[in-house]
């Protein structure tokens, strides 16, 4: 049959078996503290239990020193550590290296749910983020009026821009209602519109300490602010809902001050540089213009502007001549046509014939006598000659043979 084991052999075997298991090597167990005793050596002995079961735990002095809370019966906790089998008594127990309060887990779930909800509502979207002012005249700071955070911000601002403007809204940054004074601060600055940017600042702390910055109400207040908001909460590794909602997130309060305020020295240096390059560019421009004007001045029309009118004058004289010539030619043409006609008419004038010695004879009624039979003896006839008329009495009228 089976081999008989000694108790030592059994407990050895169980010990080996348990210590070779990966799951048991690295545990995170949730439960409620009971039977807690703190030994004078500093070791903490307790059990953790749920509704049905319990298991022994020990937290040695070295680990227990880092506890953020005093272990007491009834507190819900997470314990981190490994399972150990105590061969002497045959008991299993958890060697606890880290222990946190169980409420933390609830907060984490709450945080994640709220983050998802607000993200869906668009509170974190980049399009809705307001740009920070370049050089704020006044900075609104919402933080505790006592404490290192305000001093850090002041020192940084002083170093960068000695005549900076700042308005402090003293707020409570710790405790269950802390977010309410912060919201009041945001509304104060928005109602008075007396700052260009708002910094919400707080130093580092535990998750619980920073919890006011995860409040839904604060997220809406930041989102509704007309003035850009910078969040500067805790350390680099801490992210709060306020950080996601703010228009910019600074890792630390000092970083927020650096982010919002440029260095005066650098600005002055930059202004001088720009002034120099402006001067250079301007004198270069003037030189170019000078050159251009000189160039234009030297063109003939600018050196002797009367030349242009002279040419126009010549043209005008020219066409004026043509005008008068044409007019004269026209009149001459009419005259010459008239003369030709006149000569023709002259040639047909009967009086011209009379000048050569011919004459015209009419009876007393003015009828031209072309045949001798038209008159009788003693008729009065009138003869028209070149110069004057002759009145005669017919003596004899006979026809030519």
């Amino acid at each position: 049959m089976e081999k008989t084991l000694t108790v030592t052999e059994l407990n050895n075997y169980v010990s080996q078996l348990l210590s070779s298991d990966d799951i048991l090597e690295s545990l995170k167990v949730e439960g409620e503290i009971s039977n807690c005793t703190i030994h004078y050596s500093g070791h903490v002995y307790f059990s953790i239990k749920d509704d049905n079961c319990s298991i022994r735990c020990v937290m040695f002095d070295r680990s227990a020193r880092n506890l953020k809370f005093k272990p007491e019966n009834g507190i819900k906790v997470y314990v981190y550590g490994y399972l150990s089998f105590y061969e002497k008594t045959g008991q299993t127990q958890i060697i606890v290296t880290v222990m946190t309060e169980g409420g933390t887990g609830d907060l984490f779930v709450k945080f994640e749910n709220l983050k998802k909800k607000l993200e869906l509502e668009g509170l974190f979207s980049h399009e809705n983020k307001k740009p920070l002012p370049y050089l704020p005249e006044r900075i609104g700071i919402i933080t505790s009026s006592t404490g290192a955070v305000l001093q850090d911000i002041r020192n940084t601002l002083q170093k960068r821009f000695d005549n900076y403007g700042m308005i402090l809204y003293p707020a409570t940054v710790q405790g269950t209602d802390a977010h309410k004074t912060i919201i009041e601060g945001i509304r104060y600055f928005n109602d008075n519109n007396n700052v260009d940017v708002i910094i919400i600042a707080r130093g580092g702390g535990s998750v619980e300490d920073l919890w006011p910055f995860n409040e839904e109400e604060l997220a809406y207040a930041i989102y509704a602010s007309e003035i850009p908001v910078i969040s500067a909460i805790g350390h680099e590794t801490d992210f709060t809902i306020a950080d996601f909602t703010a228009d910019a997130r600074a890792a630390t309060p000092t970083a927020a001050a650096q982010m919002v305020m440029p260095e005066k020295n650098m600005l002055i240096k930059d202004i001088f540089l720009k002034r120099d390059s402006l001067n250079n560019a301007f004198s270069k421009l003037l030189r170019n213009l000078d050159d251009k004007i000189l160039n234009i001045k030297q063109r003939p029309v600018m050196r002797r502007p009367e030349e242009y009118t002279n040419i126009l004058g010549l043209n005008l004289d020219n066409i004026t001549n043509r005008f008068f010539l044409a007019s004269k030619a026209y009149i001459d043409g009419i005259y010459s046509r008239y003369n030709i006609l006149n000569q023709k008419i002259e040639a047909l004038n009967p009086l011209n014939v009379l000048s050569r010695g011919y004459s015209i004879t009419t009876d007393k009624d003015g009828k031209v006598i072309k045949c001798s039979s038209m008159v009788n003896k003693d008729d009065r006839i009138i003869t028209k000659i070149f110069e004057g008329t002759i009145s005669s009495i017919v003596e004899k009228a006979e026809k030519n043979e």
Partner: protein, 66 residues
């Protein structure tokens, strides 16, 4: 004086001269055209004279600045 500019008036005068040079106008038309031409020549000369004064003055002030 006419509102038309020098070039416009000058073109009108050119047209009139061409008409006269062709010699096809009736006497009445010719007289009318001649009168127009004469008036144009007068206006053109006045305009030119004014321009001439200005161009010369501008030129002189320019010289002073230089």
């Amino acid at each position: 004086m006419s509102d038309k500019d020098f070039n416009e008036l000058y073109k009108e005068l050119e047209k009139i001269v061409e008409q006269l040079e062709k010699g096809e106008l009736s006497l009445e038309e010719a007289v009318k055209t001649y009168t127009q031409g004469h008036e144009l020549i007068k206006q053109l000369n006045e305009k030119l004279e004014k321009a001439r004064e200005k161009m010369v003055v501008t030129g002189k002030s320019e010289l002073k600045e230089m």
